[in-house]
């Protein structure tokens, strides 16, 4: 089998599995978020937290709920990490105040950037009731926001976008928990560990002492991928044999992290009453996602094994890296900095596109909608009408909000990278100089601002300046787009829908999909080309 053929078959298999599950999963998500019924457990939860599930919220109230919930989550997790030394099951682990803040923000924003070493910084208790819980809830928040945004497009003549608490509870209880449970069992079956054993010290072949960790790994691993979180139980993340022991678990993890983001366009199509819209969107995601994957596989086909696990090899490492950077997951099964320079550049570009190929749980959908709104506006004028999307006019309010949502990540990445390269305190954290060092810094800020969480490796990020700077990137990169998109959706929901005629620019056709891809690539390219040229491209060409 030629390498090209085997690569094609590999991508084809992943695409086929995703294509098969995206309809039932998308339909299920549709039912979860449109059903009027509450389960008994949900009613109990609503009663406990004092929420009336029948009351829908305006966008501003919805946003306030998201922000309040996330603020409480950050403070709670921060305190939990700081106080873990006084609590049981902590094996005496601890973190600095700034590291703990970075970690708390990171897990609540679904970024899962880890400036601490997984097993050394967080004990079993923090892993279980802090990090794993946030893995569920942060994904649930992303899902809820995406659904609320889609409701804005689907509804007309109302200022209500749904109830955040209901969306969060349903997404968590009906979607993430059952899927994660099944996934965890499959992972355990594949060899991932799940125990509460105290660390065992053994004497290795060379005579040195080695500490073997135990832990509730499979349960965290499942939601780590499914919720596009990426925070590893171990520092080595999915390269660690207890997290990802073999080729089968590797493929399963790749599918898990792609599953919900690639099914959401179907849900979106159902909710707006036009499945073609969802089909066009998933096609755009597929072209960008699989395009990046194929490019990385091709670039890695030279076969360098540096920084890769023997059991995965270059190709499966490239596939995992592409999937994890394209979904804002940030789990890694290899060292991204050891990739061929251009392959590392593709991983960077995947994040720079704005995490929409297919992006994180929920976030991928609304990030793509940001680009759709911008593409509709740029090209919509060319058909001689005020641009409209799904019958809603895209005027100055919509453009302003979409621009704000799109602008925040480039602002954080470019300013952050620029400042951090100039300041000795952060420039000193680089492991090397030259273009590769530039890529390390660029990667860190790109990963944080786009809520990916993967690391290029090499950068010693556990220091106060970077911990706090990156935490702010994660916060703004998460909540500015959420605020802008909820405001956008609120405005669209109250707009009257204009009828579709032959004069309406279609947003489900191949030419619109092509346009959307071009807008995404050109906007990201124009923003980041100089940085990429000085980093990955210069490294590759020198």
């Amino acid at each position: 089998m030629t390498p090209a053929l085997s690569a094609g078959l590999t991508i084809g298999t992943i695409a086929a599995v995703l294509a098969i599950i995206h309809v039932p999963l998308g339909s299920w998500l549709y039912r979860v978020f449109t059903s009027p019924k509450h389960t008994r457990v949900e009613r109990l939860v609503y009663r406990l937290v004092g929420v009336n599930p029948e009351v829908e919220q305006r966008w501003s109230v919805y946003l306030l709920a998201v922000l309040a919930f996330s603020t409480v989550s950050i403070i709670g997790l921060w305190l939990l990490i700081l106080l873990q030394g006084f609590l049981p099951f902590s094996q005496g682990r601890s973190m600095n105040v700034d590291t703990a803040f970075n970690a708390a923000v990171s897990f609540v924003t679904n970024t899962n950037w880890q400036s601490y070493a997984g097993e050394a910084g967080a004990g079993y208790l923090v892993q279980a009731i802090g990090l794993t819980v946030q893995n569920f809830l942060s994904a649930g928040v992303g899902l809820a926001v995406a659904i609320a945004v889609v409701r804005g497009l689907a509804r007309e003549g109302t200022d209500r976008l749904g109830n955040f608490w209901v969306d969060l509870v349903r997404g968590t209880l009906r979607v993430l928990l059952p899927l994660a449970a099944v996934a965890a069992i499959m992972l355990v079956a594949g060899g991932v560990i799940q125990n509460l054993t105290e660390p065992t010290t053994i004497t290795s072949l060379t005579g040195g002492d080695q500490v073997i960790q135990g832990g509730l790994v499979a349960s965290q691993e499942a939601i780590k991928e499914l919720g596009t979180n990426g925070g590893g139980f171990f520092n080595a993340n999915s390269a660690h044999p207890f997290e990802n022991p073999n080729g089968w678990t590797n493929l399963l993890e790749i599918l898990l992290l792609l599953a919900i983001p690639s099914a959401l366009p179907y849900t979106y199509g159902r909710m707006v009453g036009d499945r073609r819209q969802g089909a066009a969107m998933v096609s755009v995601m597929a072209v960008l996602g699989f395009g990046a994957m194929a490019t990385m596989m091709w670039l890695e086909s030279v076969g360098s094994m540096e920084g890769k696990e023997q059991r995965f090899g270059p190709i499966w490492s490239a596939i995992f890296a592409s999937a994890t950077t394209g979904t804002s997951t940030g789990a890694v099964n290899s060292l991204h900095e050891s990739f061929q320079p251009l392959a590392g550049g593709v991983a960077l570009l995947n994040m720079m596109l704005g995490e929409l190929s297919p992006g994180g749980v929920g976030t991928g959908l609304y990030s793509m909608l940001v680009m759709v709104v911008l593409a509709v506006f740029i090209a919509g004028l060319m058909v001689g009408r005020t641009p409209e999307f799904l019958g809603k006019s895209i005027g100055s309010r919509e453009v302003t909000l979409a621009a704000l949502a799109m602008l925040i990540a480039p602002v954080l990445v470019l300013l952050g990278t620029g400042v951090a390269l100039l300041l000795p305190v952060s420039a000193g954290a680089l492991s090397t100089t030259g273009p590769h060092g530039l890529s390390e810094m660029l990667y860190a800020f790109t990963s944080a601002a786009n809520n990916n969480g993967s690391a290029f490796a090499g950068l010693s990020a556990d220091q106060p300046f970077l911990n706090i700077a990156l935490a702010f990137c994660m916060l703004l990169g998460r909540f500015v787009p959420i605020a802008a998109m909820l405001a956008l959706a609120g405005g669209l929901a109250s707009q009257q829908r204009r009828p579709v005629t032959a004069g309406t620019m279609p947003t489900h056709t191949a030419s619109f999909a092509g346009l959307l891809i071009a807008v995404i690539l050109i906007l990201a390219g124009l923003t980041y080309f100089p940085s990429l040229a000085l980093g990955s491209i210069a490294e590759a060409l020198s």
């Binding site: 009408r385 032959a502 004069g503 940085s531």
Partner: protein, 684 residues
């Protein structure tokens, strides 16, 4: 009727030359600051100039010059667009020169300057005098020369009462005497509005323009950041960049092309309407015209000629066709209505011969013509030999036949119904030979003739997603037949102004934008309710006040052109925005390798154009960026070529031309400029 179209514009080069001083004056930062993108270029130019003075290298000086040229070209585009309106405004202003008004006061009149007239004043205007202000005729009837505003030399009639009472200040009374009640304050007259419109003084940014500006500002911020972040990255990489180079990169990347042309495109769009003799009261209305979903068209004058014309004759059983035609012609000889004339013409055309006798000969021979009256609803002729011919409405003619002792044939009713069913008006012809009972001969079909080509235009509109609704006072049967023939999508029969209003509201409730024309006072509410209301200039001042456009030619068909102009305006903006953004790809490939090839020689691989040296590469991009503005000025003023197509076909076409073209064109342009620059000493 002679027609003076608006003088076509002088050649672009001449206008451009004449506009240069104005363009230079617009370099004033206070003016440039109104356009954020160009203001960034202004600051960049100022910075580069200072740098070029401090450290005069050929490169820095060249960049400074071309950056100022970029702003100058942008100003030139705007100045040319405004200059075109200025010429028109000047000729309008002449008509506004101080006219004295004869104001009626108790029991007499006084002479006051036109500018001192107030609302409600009554003024007397006689033949040869200029009407001092906008108003309604409340007494008298006069012919008026309105060529000053319409360009139409044929005089029009204005009279008190009814829908033709509005007069415009600045027009001249040719005959008779009228009393006009002033309806506009000084400074707010129609001519004042026209002047400020064509000059662009009253131009406010339209909603789409505001949104587009936000997008352009966003892009500018992104590029500002990308360039700002470049310096630390460059310092880190060991290649400190000069400020001139950074500024050059910034100007090349921000969307200067569309930023420079945006205001010219808007002014030119309004100007295109003026060229069509349509005055839009706001740019918003022009944009709305592009968005229209439903056109309400009055049948008469828009879809049909308005005059019913004879198109066929139907003899009753036992009657020769020639006999029917002869009788019909005889009955119509003295009938001067368009319908009557059309019968005579129809018979002449059918028989393909010169008529045997004419009206004059018959009269001399002693024939007596019976004119049409509202009471008899028939007309005809009594010949000297005692025979009589009548034509008229079916019931009237049948009544005459019975009264004179005859009996209408049985098959008449069937024919009349059939002709009605075709959407035509049946005209029954009967004759009576001397000393016998009258006899019905047959039916003449008077058809409402649909203007040629209307079905095609409606099909085009349909392809563009625009629904046409015909409004008519006809009965539903007739309306349906004409609607089918003309190819409109729907019709509203026996329409009253209230029905029209209801229809507009119903369309709007469904999220549709509605355009309509109207002239009468009773159209005013509907004109105000419609998203695009085009008032006819012949209409009342109430109608003109209610609409957001006025058609000086009073041609209802023009609504279709107005929609096209609105769409063209939006397409031009979108196309140049796309082009502007697509251009950046090539500029990056010109500048980035040039900036860093010193540090990383391998980056030469990113220089597919094979540009000569870093300096020529960067300067070529800057020059291209300036010249492309100049090159696109004609397109911005003319508007991109527009054909009625479906949105998806239009998108494909424009994406290909302005998207793909926008990516490719600068690669070629920058390469050519680079080749020319290598000929200059001192840059390599």
């Amino acid at each position: 009727m002679s027609k003076h179209p608006r003088p076509s514009h002088p050649s672009l080069l001449i206008t451009a030359w004449q506009s240069l001083p104005l363009a230079a004056a617009k370099l004033d930062p206070r003016h440039v600051a109104r356009n954020p993108v160009m203001f960034v270029v202004w600051v960049a130019s100022a910075v580069t100039t200072v740098l070029a003075v401090v450290q005069p290298t050929l490169f820095a000086i060249s960049v400074a010059i071309w950056l100022w040229a970029t702003i100058l070209f942008a100003n030139l585009a705007e100045a040319i667009a405004e200059g075109r309106g200025k010429a028109q405004a000047d000729s309008l202003r002449k008509t506004r020169t101080q006219t004295m008004a004869r104001r009626c006061i108790d029991g007499g009149e006084e002479s006051v300057p036109g500018a001192e007239l107030r609302l409600g004043d009554r003024v007397v205007v006689e033949a040869g005098q200029v009407i001092p202000g906008d108003g309604d005729v409340i007494e008298g009837v006069a012919t008026i020369d309105e060529s000053a505003i319409t360009g139409e030399s044929a005089p029009v009639i204005r009279e008190a009462g009814g829908d033709r009472c509005a007069v415009t200040g600045g027009t001249t009374v040719l005959s008779d005497r009228i009393v006009v009640q002033i309806t506009a304050k000084p400074g707010e007259t129609f001519i004042d509005k026209m002047i400020s419109l064509v000059e662009g003084a009253a131009r406010q940014k339209t909603p789409n323009e505001i949104a587009l500006n936000i997008l352009l500002i966003t892009l500018t911020i992104i590029f500002l950041l990308a360039v700002m972040a470049l310096q630390p990255q460059a310092i880190y990489s060991g290649g400190h960049l000069s400020l001139v180079v950074l500024v050059a990169l910034l100007v090349c990347l921000i969307p200067t092309t569309i930023g420079a042309l945006l205001s010219a495109i808007g002014i030119a769009g309004m100007d295109r309407l003026v060229q069509h003799n349509v005055l839009a009261m706001s740019g918003r209305a022009v944009e709305a015209a592009g968005d229209v979903n439903t056109l309400l068209l009055d049948k008469t004058g828009t879809i049909t000629y308005g005059n019913r014309r004879a198109s066929e004759v139907y003899p009753l059983a036992g009657v020769e066709r020639a006999a029917l035609m002869g009788a019909a012609r005889l009955a119509s000889l003295a009938d001067l209505t368009p319908e009557g004339r059309s019968i005579v013409e129809f018979v002449a055309a059918e028989e393909n011969s010169e008529p045997a006798e004419n009206e004059l000969e018959l009269t001399q021979a002693g024939a007596a013509f019976v004119p049409f009256t509202a009471q008899t609803r028939m007309s005809g002729v009594d010949l000297p030999d005692g025979s009589q011919v009548r034509k008229g409405a079916g019931s009237a003619v049948a009544a005459w036949v019975r009264a004179e002792g005859g009996q209408p044939a049985d098959d008449l009713a069937a024919i009349v119904d059939r002709v009605s069913g075709l959407g035509s008006t049946p005209l029954v012809v009967a004759s009576r030979l001397p000393e016998s009972a009258p006899k019905v001969l047959g039916v003449v079909q008077l058809k409402d003739v649909v203007k040629p080509g209307m079905a095609d235009r409606f099909a085009q509109l349909r392809a563009m997603g625009i629904r046409t609704v015909m409004i008519t006072g006809d009965n539903p049967l007739t309306a349906k037949a004409i609607a089918a023939e003309a190819g409109v999508d729907d019709f509203l029969a026996e329409a009253t102004p209230e029905d029209k209003m209801e229809l507009i509201k119903a369309e709007q409730a469904g999220g549709r934008l509605v355009a309509m024309t109207g002239d009468g006072t009773n159209d005013a509410p509907a004109l105000a309710q419609a998203d695009v209301g085009v008032a006819m200039n012949t209409g009342t001042s109430a109608a003109k006040e209610a609409g957001n456009m006025v058609d000086l030619d009073s041609d209802p068909t023009k609504l279709i052109d107005i929609v096209a102009i609105g769409k063209q305006l939006l397409i031009t903006r979108g196309a140049l925005t796309t082009f502007s953004i697509a251009n950046d790809v090539a500029k990056y490939f010109a500048i980035i390798p040039a900036m860093f090839v010193g540090v990383f020689p391998g980056l030469q691989a990113l220089n597919p154009m094979g540009l000569h040296s870093p300096n020529t590469a960067m300067l070529s991009a800057v020059i291209f960026n300036a010249l492309i503005i100049l090159a696109l000025v004609p397109l911005a003023l003319r508007g991109v070529s527009y054909r009625p197509l479906s949105a998806s076909a239009m998108l494909n076409r424009n994406l290909l031309i302005y998207g793909l073209g926008g990516i490719i064109a600068p690669f070629i342009g920058i390469k050519i400029i680079d080749l020319l620059l290598t000929l200059l000493p001192g840059l390599g």
